[in-house]
Amino acid sequence: MVKPKLMQGNECCALGALAAGVRFFAGYPITPSTEIAEIFSKELPKLGGVFMQMEDEIASLAAVIGASLTGKKAITATSGPGFSLMQENLGFAAVAEVPCVIVNVMRLGPSTGMPTLPAQSDVMQARWGTHGDHSVIALAPSSVKEAFCLTVRAVNLAERYRVPVVLLMDEVIGHLRERVVFQPDEKVVQWERKQCLNPKSSQPFEETADGIPPFFSFGGEYRHHVTGLVHDESGFPTSQREGISRLIRRLHYKITQHLSDIVQVEEFFVDDADVLIIAYGSTARSAQAAVVRAREEGKKAGLLRLITLWPFPEKEVSTAAVNKKAVIVPEMNMGQLALEVARVLPDKNLLFPINRVDGELVTPDEILSVMGRIY
Amino acid sequence: MAKGKHKLHFDREKCKACGICIAFCPANVFTVDIDYCAVISSPDKCTGCRRCELYCPDYCIFVEEDYYG
């Protein structure tokens, strides 16, 4: 008999990172993510890892990138204002292809906003927050257990694709305490970054078949140059038009050509549904409750829960939306992911967004009342 | 033991004509060419102090010590 534990989302996130092999954390205190830093400060030294409290979030992500360049798995955790400060170095990690994970426990914004109240309003910032075209992966857990699993996955994806991965938790999941059961046969699988095996035949930023160059680590056998400037395959700055375009395009396609490996969604009574709810994070819990109650009332509702937010699950959303009478997108923001959903729906009139921006969860009742208007 | 001479090596390709070596050489070894780049005009005067080498921002100059040739 496995003993269930009462655990918090932030706690599971930190433990998931450790299980995934993370041995470096740098961060700055910020509500509602601080518990993550506190757990790392306690556990990392025991494992011989490094916990650093930096002078701000800019330095935090900088130190994480520095640590990752030596080959260590590294992570930072923050919330809205800190995530804003991190955008600069998030872009650096994207263009220099340094694996790292940024946990953003979303709180209501803009600016200082409501530090202790939940929101889902950093969805677009996670995708487009840093300047310039770049690739990024973002995941959104809906339960405490999933905070563990998706942190492991975030670390793995960062390592495999040499890309910054954003774990978009909302404050509800971050601070939620619920029953978590780890089965004895559940194993954490660690993915490792592709290593450079032969420096004579490979370059630190070369265009490989899968788009992901082999990693040369600092302190290893081969010296190389890492820069935030646009660089050629050798890693040195280039101003050749062809080389510039090749890099920017590769940063995109190294993600887009691996969608089947990266994108995850969960279906709940989708196939025969008339009304489809598309939700993520804590809102997906309300959506699931609404589906259950609607089914009890004989209404054919279904839920497509997005686990991967970026790259946006275009194919999954458009497939699930086929023959639906309506698509409801509840979010704790003014309609950010709804923009993406609208982009892939055949008819924009099918879209019914529910937006809550008062620091409260979208309730199942709200979703049911919108459903009632449709039916 | 007899000491060899100092041989000055100068890479004209890299010279940006800043004029530092010319001004700082205590033995007036250098003059300028039509592009204001340095020219080694009086190599025999070189005392081997290496100021030109150490101050050259572009690594154009190298003073070889104990040169026999």
């Binding site: 433990l15 450790l18 041995r23 470096f24 740098a26 306690k42 556990e43 030294p45 025991k46 494992l47 011989g48 490094v50 650093m52 002078e55 800019i58 330095a59 935090s60 900088a62 130190a63 994480v64 990138i65 520095g66 640590a67 990752s68 360049l69 030596t70 260590k72 590294a74 600069e88 170095n89 650096f92 600092f218 302190g219 056998e221 010296r223 190389h224 140059h225 890492v226 820069t227 935030g228 400037l229 040195f236 | 090596h9 890479d11 890299k14 940006k16 800043c18 004029g19 530092i20 010319i22 001004a23 700082f24 080498e53 150490l54 101050y55 050259c56 921002p57 572009d58 690594y59 190298f62």
Partner: protein
């Protein structure tokens, strides 16, 4: 060609992008000669730089090199050193890089006393963007954004670093190339955060605007300033090593904490 150039410079990336007479080249020359003295395995050295003219130094040096974002070089370097303490770290920053946008990282790196050598190449201006005034432009000097002369005062970098907790602090001019080389060696041997302010020159965007003559004249002027050191105010205060003390170093202290934490018992995972 000089052996030290072959060994430590990425010759295929030269000539460098710097203007004629730029002090960066002289600093980099002194640095590679200091590397010759230090005899470190090149694979075990990391050179980190920020943004601006000085930021390009990392690309020309044959070590593990990292050209970071503006002002953040020390924060990246801190991550590298903490994650892999055996690596020798050298950080190059410009004056705008280190004291304007990177000022916060500078004082905290000093406070942490993490074992690395930071070199601030102070040419009194933001050179790459065309000569705007920096926190190190002396009051009254002209800049593209100070056409009537700056009204702001400049920092005293060594005093700032010492107050913030750096444990080796020195100021040296590029005129003193041999002293610069010696100080880089000394700073690298020092256990803790060592900071060198190197007074450099930007003949094109600073010197020309302030009628300071050609590169050679600017260097000659610096010689005069160094000779009269201690007589005036601001930059003319001191040259050479200013301060050195032994204080607990970050990595050593962290390792002590690891021992303590591991005594307390296993990880909860």
């Amino acid at each position: 060609m000089c052996a030290v150039y072959h060994k430590y410079l990425r010759l295929d990336h030269l000539p460098h992008i710097w203007c004629p007479g730029c002090g960066n080249g002289i600093v980099m020359g002194a640095f590679i000669r200091a590397m010759e003295d230090l005899k470190y395995d090149q694979n075990e050295v990391v050179v980190v730089s920020g943004i601006g003219c000085s930021g390009r130094i990392s690309g020309y040096l044959d070590f593990n090199t990292l050209h970071t974002t503006h002002g953040r070089a020390l924060a990246f370097a801190t991550g590298i050193k903490a994650a892999e303490p055996r690596l020798k770290i050298f950080v190059f920053m410009g004056d705008g890089d280190a004291t304007a946008i990177g000022g916060n990282h500078l004082i905290h790196a000093c406070r942490r006393n993490i074992d690395m050598t930071a070199i601030i190449i102070n040419n009194c201006t933001f050179g790459m963007t065309g000569g705007q005034f920096s926190p190190m432009t002396p009051k009254g000097k002209k800049a593209s954004t100070a056409p009537y002369g700056t009204v702001e005062r400049n920092f005293d970098i060594p005093a700032l670093a010492q107050a913030a907790g750096a444990t080796l602090v020195a100021r040296v001019g590029i005129y003193q190339v041999n002293l610069l080389r010696e100080l880089i060696v000394k700073a690298s041997h020092h256990k803790g955060f060592a900071l060198l302010e190197v007074i450099s020159q930007c003949p094109v965007n600073y010197g020309r605007r302030n009628q300071m003559g050609d590169p050679a004249e600017m260097l000659e002027d610096q010689k005069g300033i160094i000779k009269s050191a201690g007589l005036g105010q601001g930059l003319e205060n001191y040259f050479g090593q200013i301060f050195q003390s032994e204080q607990p170093e970050f990595i050593e202290e962290y390792n002590k904490m690891i021992v303590q934490a591991q005594k307390k018992g296993g990880c909860d995972v």
